[in-house]
Symmetry: C2
Subunit: 341 residues, 2 copies
């Protein structure tokens, strides 16, 4: 009984603090939530919760605010993901259905997430390594330079300029193009890299330098998993961060400019198909300790292709945000999945 009420108190504190953004005291707590006890009793519980590190006082004789640990408990045990309203679901669908190509899908998704959650949205492009080769194209730019274009099953297009060193006649180019496509089309990117290995031998010694230049460029595109691109939106919502502003927002904006940081924010979940919540200090970046990240993978049923998520102040509406992130991920996954066929 006692333990239960303490948890209930913590839940109430989190909810009130999230909605009012002000430290919450014992009196206000009993008034808003109908816990059937007096403020004094609540005070005892609060003292205990504070001892255990779930809440804290900004100053003596102020109300309590949740700590990161408190939010953690709230997310893990005291809340359930809030499903979206049907109106919201319909809005998501109609907003995403008009998308033309991959760029468009990603752009729309990031906007959608941002407006839905009123926070900063982050969407990663579908990963190369988990998609397969659709087509490889070689386009001559000059006698010794050509453009290598790699098209993947997710609709992504990678391009790269290759210096062949030696001259590359059209006939050879055609042959090479045919060979490349024959041995890689429909194959997973990492596997395709393997297939390239013995391709050199099918060409004459004179041809090899140029061929090898192309091959190694393609290999890099395939293997290096170059720049896993990340797009973000809704930065204007940072303005809602709070009054202790400039110090808070500066490092966040800086962090958001670094692709690497964004990738790490989304990354590293044991099972990426499960909603992941990183709260405050749990984040892998020093500038984001007053910030929480809600992220999840998206893709087909069998596979996660990339991740998306939302970033906001630790004091955020976790159930709502988690619901929105999960719902958007499902829709996007479905759409990207279709493109797979």
């Amino acid at each position: 009984m006692l333990e239960d009420r303490k948890l209930e108190v913590l839940r109430a504190i989190v909810e009130d603090y999230v909605s009012t953004q002000e430290p919450v005291g014992s009196r206000a707590l009993v008034e808003r939530h109908n816990l059937g006890v007096s403020p004094a009793t609540i005070r005892n519980d609060m003292a205990a919760l504070e001892d255990e590190g779930y809440i804290a006082q900004p100053h003596t004789s102020a109300g309590r605010i949740p700590t990161d640990k408190g939010y953690r408990l709230f997310v893990d045990r005291l809340s359930t993901v809030k499903p979206l309203s049907t109106a919201e679901r319909r809005a998501i669908q109609s907003f995403l259905d008009g998308a033309l190509d991959l760029d468009d899908i990603v752009t729309r998704t990031v906007r959608l997430l941002a407006t839905l959650t009123q926070q900063v949205a982050v969407v990663q492009y579908p990963s190369l390594s988990r998609s397969s080769v659709r087509h490889v194209e070689l386009v001559p730019l000059s006698t010794t330079r050509l453009l290598l274009v790699l098209i993947t099953s997710t609709g992504r297009v990678e391009q790269r300029v290759v210096e062949t060193g030696a001259e590359l006649p059209d006939s050879l180019l055609g042959e090479l193009r045919a060979q490349l496509n024959a041995s890689t089309a429909g194959v997973r990117l990492p596997d395709a890299a393997v297939r390239l290995e013995d391709l050199t031998e099918r060409f004459t010694v004179e041809q090899r330098p140029a061929v090898n230049a192309v091959l190694s460029a393609l290999l890099e595109s395939l293997v290096e998993e170059p720049e896993e691109r990340v797009v973000l939106g809704g930065t204007a919502n940072l303005a809602r961060f709070g009054p202790d502003f400039p110090q808070t927002i500066r490092p966040v904006l800086e962090a958001l400019e670094e692709q690497m940081v964004l990738l790490r924010l989304l990354g590293e979940a044991a099972d990426p198909s499960v909603l992941q919540v990183r709260i405050g200090h749990e984040n892998p970046h020093a500038g984001l300790t007053t910030t929480s990240v809600v992220s999840v993978g998206y893709g087909t049923e069998s596979e996660v292709l990339a991740k998306l998520g939302v970033l906001g102040p630790t004091r955020m509406d976790y159930p709502g945000t988690m619901g929105a992130v999960r719902a958007v991920a499902r829709y996007v996954g479905r759409i990207v999945g279709e493109g797979q066929g």
Copy 2:
């Protein structure tokens, strides 16, 4: 003599205000700049400048700050573009020279501009309409869908999924690909659009629906000049905007999320090869009235391919910013120009 000194006073006010960010008074003015007169004299000049609308007082008995009109005069007649130091020039060069492809060039440029000016940088991708067709590629996705890839002379790649409606056998696909390339390769984009017009007639009536689907998709890519993409960076520098923060930064962040707004910010100069400065209310966007934009076109000697620029508070170092923007534009123009060959 008198007029000259008044201008000198205005110049001094702008410079001091930019560096201190505080209203500047008559005493401080004579101390820092060695105008050979007394504060009382300066006060008379200031009163005149205020009457004419070049400066204003935040409150009675405070110093003066420049108005938009004051900055305008400063930029037009009282300052010269400040050339970069050789160290800076060298840094620009080495930073941009490592670029691999067009994406990379643009990304690096935007970072460079942001760090150089300590402000928000905006770079537009080289325009399609001024470049020419390098290659058109058709890649089958399914029996009735294919991916159209357009590669331009600036290294840009446009992709689009086409629903052909009817089935499109490989042989026809090859024929169509050949025809498309034959009639458009090396041609300016708008001109290429014209060349497509009579292409339909070379195919049989049964083939035409599918062919036309492809043609119209390509036409759109060529003509519509779809999404002239704009990239920005250095948003963290918004944190330096000032203490009257949240109200100021919010609309700016919102404006920066709109591609259309960014385009208009850069756009619409009579001669885009000349540095353009938009000060405060001169901007075409309501949220950016406390903001100035310094922009200029970049490209080859004969042609402007796109624009880039910097956005910051009206209270900015105009000579330095203008110098940096101009220098970066020149280097980028040179690099993009090389790719033209």
